[in-house]
Symmetry: C2
């Protein structure tokens, strides 16, 4: 049975389920940042998914990119580049990061993973979660 | 017309073409590491590709993972985790990194991008290129 690793609860919150993935918002105002976790048990690598699931995952990555762009627009910081990563060195359960980047985002051009400290949304978190869940792309 | 950005020639070499992507070997013996560049002109984000091309890309990512695992085995350093990233902050042309990681690889658990200096293959480069081109997965 699918269950997201409790490690994801430190740093991100569940927004909703898409056909394949659990959608999470990274609790970090530095970047509009979603995490997609395929809702299949025991997955670690893309190769563990069926080919059909992988095709769905790819489309959900694109959809997550649209949502990330909407989050950036809403914060008056339009996304200039999407960064997509399936890494899993720290939390092994298969998941994909979709992160909106800007040339002035403080870490550019480095990747975001493992760099700097998150700046949590605080009281604004629920509004951000709602925005993701209600976005046309979402 | 498709042409890979000359920036890729610093640090990687062309191995072959797959149905969608130009396959390149990163010239860095620290990690078995392929780069896939979809052979379509003017691509920057996954969303720029057609949905059909994206499905092919996903399968070529998995195939690249198999080749990366074979490179790791050949070097007696079996891959323990695959890292996949579509970043493009430095070179904007759409490309996907597929990198084989080990717990003892010196950068673990950090991502590899933008960290440390490459260790080129030197005279062993052509043999590595041939291995990628001839591998069953390749």
């Amino acid at each position: 049975m699918f269950r997201s690793d409790p490690a994801f609860d430190t740093g991100s919150v569940i927004v909703c389920d898409w056909p394949l993935c659990q959608v999470r918002l990274q609790d970090d105002t530095r970047f509009p940042w979603l995490i997609l976790i395929p809702r299949r048990a025991g997955m670690h690598e893309l190769e563990d998914l069926s080919s059909a699931d992988r095709a769905v995952l790819m489309e959900e990555i694109v959809r997550a990119g649209e949502v990330v762009r909407e989050l950036g627009e809403a914060a008056f910081r339009p996304v200039q580049k999407l960064n997509v990563g399936a890494i899993g060195n720290v939390t092994a359960q298969l998941h994909v990061h979709v992160v909106g980047r800007r040339h002035d985002d403080g870490l550019w051009p480095d990747p975001v993973w493992g760099r700097g400290a998150a700046r949590p949304y605080g009281p604004a978190l629920q509004a951000a979660v709602s925005r993701v869940g209600l976005s046309p792309a979402g």
